[in-house]
C-alpha cells in the first residue's frame, strides 16, 4: 500500500495539472490550424482525442513520471545502499531485491495505467474547457469529434505502452539506486542517470511497440 501511495497517488497532482493544460493547448493549436473549409469542425475534437490517447497520455506522462517517480526510487534505494540499510536486510536473510523492488514494479504496472486513463480524461476535459470557454466550438461539436472514429484498440495500445513504460522506469531507476557506490553525491548522479536512461529507453520502446502494434 505504501508503494501505491508513493508511485500512484502522490503522482496524481502533477498528472492532473499536466494533462489538463496540455489537453487544452492541443485543442487550441489544432483549432487555430484548421483553416480549410473542407475539414469539418468536429476534426478538432477528433485530433485532440487521438493525440491524447495515442501519444500524449501514455508517452509524455510516462516521461514525466520517469522524472518524478524514477528519480525518487533511485535516490531512495541509493540512500538505503550507502547507509547500509540494504546490507542490514541481507544480513537478516531478507532477499533485498525482492523486498525493495518487486512491490514497486507491481505498483507501477498496476497504477501507471490508472494514471494514464485519468490523464486521458483530464486532457479531453482540458480541451473541452479551452474550446468552449474561448467560444471556438460548441459542446456538441467537440463531443462529436471525441466520439468520431473512436477505436478501442487505441486504448489497448496506449495501456500496453504504459505497462511497458512503468516496468522500464521502475526497473532502471531501481538498478541505478541498488548498485550505487560512494556517497550522497553518487546517489544524486545515479538519480539523474536513471531519469536520462529511462527516458531514452521509453522513447525507443515507444517506437518498437508502435511498430509492432499499429503497423
Amino acid at each position: 500500500m505504501d508503494e501505491v501511495q508513493y508511485i500512484g497517488i502522490n503522482s496524481i497532482p502533477i498528472v492532473a495539472l499536466m494533462s489538463t493544460f496540455i489537453g487544452a493547448v492541443i485543442s487550441l493549436q489544432t483549432a487555430s490550424n484548421m483553416d480549410s473549409p473542407l475539414l469539418p469542425d468536429y476534426t478538432v475534437g477528433y485530433i485532440t482525442q487521438s493525440s491524447v490517447i495515442l501519444e500524449f497520455s501514455p508517452t509524455i506522462i510516462s516521461l514525466i513520471l520517469a522524472g518524478k517517480v524514477g528519480s525518487n526510487i533511485a535516490s531512495e534505494i541509493g540512500t538505503m545502499r550507502i547507509t547500509e540499510q540494504i546490507d542490514a536486510l541481507e544480513i537478516m536473510g531478507v532477499n533485498s531485491l525482492n523486498h525493495l523492488i518487486l512491490p514497486k514494479v507491481l505498483a507501477a504496472v498496476v497504477y501507471f495505467p490508472v494514471l494514464v486513463i485519468f490523464s486521458m480524461i483530464l486532457a479531453m476535459i482540458g480541451g473541452f474547457v479551452a474550446l468552449v470557454v474561448s467560444d471556438l466550438q460548441s459542446t456538441e461539436t467537440y463531443v462529436l469529434g471525441l466520439r468520431s472514429f473512436f477505436d478501442v484498440s487505441n486504448i489497448t495500445y496506449a495501456l500496453t505502452k504504459t505497462v511497458a513504460f512503468g516496468f522500464i522506469i521502475v526497473s532502471i531507476s531501481s538498478f541505478y539506486g541498488y548498485y550505487v557506490k560512494g556517497g550522497s553525491l553518487d546517489v544524486g548522479k545515479a538519480s539523474t542517470k536513471s531519469v536520462v536512461v529511462s527516458s531514452v529507453v521509453i522513447l525507443i520502446a515507444n517506437f518498437i511497440i508502435t511498430k509492432l502494434m499499429l503497423l
Binding site: 547500509e84 546490507d87 542490514a88 541481507e90 544480513i91 536473510g93
Partner: protein
C-alpha cells in the same frame, strides 16, 4: 563458535586479506582492531557474506558458510545480529517497526508476542517508551541502542558490531560497550566487534585480534596488549604520548 580458516580476499588486483585464520569463541567479546584500510571491515563483511572470499572457509559452529547456497545462508543469517557503523536503521520505520521487522519476516509470533519482544528489547537497551520515534528523531547513541535492540530481537547466536562507538561521546561509548558486553555474557553470544577505540579494547576485549596489512598480526587479551613488544601493536595502540605514559604506568602495576 565462528572459525575463519585461511581466508583470502582480493578486490580487482589488490589483495586485502592474506590467509587469515582465527577462532571466535561464544560468550566472549572478540575484538578485531587495526588501522583504517588494513582489512578488518572486509574480514567482518566476508564473515557475514557481504563479500565473497576468494579462498578459505568460514565456519559457524562447524557449518561451512562459504560452501552454502543462498537459501542455506539465509538460515544462518537469521542467527546473526549486526550493529552497523551508521546504525543502518530503516528510516521509513519507527523504532518499534525496526525491531519488529525481522520478527515479522521470520517468525510466526502473534502480534502480542511481537509487541512483548519489542518492549523487552527496548527495555534491555534502556529505551522503553521510545517505540514511536523515527530514527531521524533519535540521537546517535539512541540509534546505536536501537540497532542493538534490533540485532538481538531474533535471539542471535552471533553478534557483529562494526565500529559501535564511532561518532559517540566517551560516556555514550561506555554505555554501548557495556551493553555489548552484558548481552554477550548474558546470552552466551559469539560477539565480534570491529573497533579503533582503545577504550573499548581495555573495557571489553576478551579476545583481541590485530589485523595489519591484511594479515592476522597479533592475538591476545586486553591485558597482554599492554605488555606485548610487538612493534606494530605499539605503533597502533600507543601512538600518542598520553597512551605511552598510561602504558608504562600499567606495566609497572602489572610487574
Amino acid at each position: 563458535m565462528i572459525s575463519v580458516r585461511n581466508v583470502n580476499k582480493t578486490f580487482g588486483k589488490q589483495q586485502v586479506l592474506f590467509d587469515v585464520s582465527a577462532n571466535f569463541e561464544p560468550g566472549r567479546v572478540n575484538l578485531i582492531i587495526g588501522q583504517s584500510g588494513q582489512g578488518k571491515s572486509v574480514l567482518a563483511k566476508s564473515m557475514v557474506g557481504l563479500h565473497e572470499v576468494d579462498s578459505g572457509q568460514i565456519l559457524f559452529d562447524g557449518r561451512d558458510f562459504t560452501a552454502m547456497d543462498k537459501s542455506d545462508r539465509a538460515e544462518i543469517r537469521q542467527e546473526i545480529g549486526m550493529l552497523f557503523q551508521g546504525s543502518a536503521l530503516f528510516d521509513s520505520m519507527t523504532v518499534e517497526e525496526n525491531i519488529k521487522f525481522p520478527l515479522s519476516m521470520f517468525t510466526k509470533m502473534t502480534k502480542k508476542e511481537m509487541q512483548e519482544r519489542v518492549d523487552f528489547c527496548l527495555e534491555r537497551v534502556n529505551l522503553q517508551g521510545r517505540n514511536a520515534l523515527y530514527p531521524s528523531e533519535c540521537s546517535g547513541g539512541m540509534q546505536k541502542r536501537v540497532g542493538i535492540a534490533r540485532a538481538i530481537a531474533m535471539n542471535p547466536k552471533y553478534l557483529f558490531c562494526d565500529e559501535p562507538n564511532s561518532g559517540l561521546d566517551p560516556k555514550t561509548a561506555i554505555v554501548i560497550d557495556s551493553l555489548i558486553k552484558d548481552i554477550t555474557y548474558e546470552y552466551g553470544i559469539t560477539t565480534i566487534v570491529i573497533t579503533h577505540d582503545m577504550n573499548s579494547v581495555m573495557e571489553i576485549g576478551d579476545n583481541v585480534i590485530f589485523i595489519h596489512q591484511g594479515k592476522k598480526w597479533w592475538e591476545g587479551d586486553r591485558h597482554s596488549i599492554i605488555t606485548t613488544d610487538n612493534p606494530e601493536i605499539e605503533a597502533f595502540v600507543f601512538a600518542s604520548e598520553f597512551m605511552k605514559k598510561i602504558r608504562s604506568s600499567l606495566k609497572e602495576r602489572i610487574k
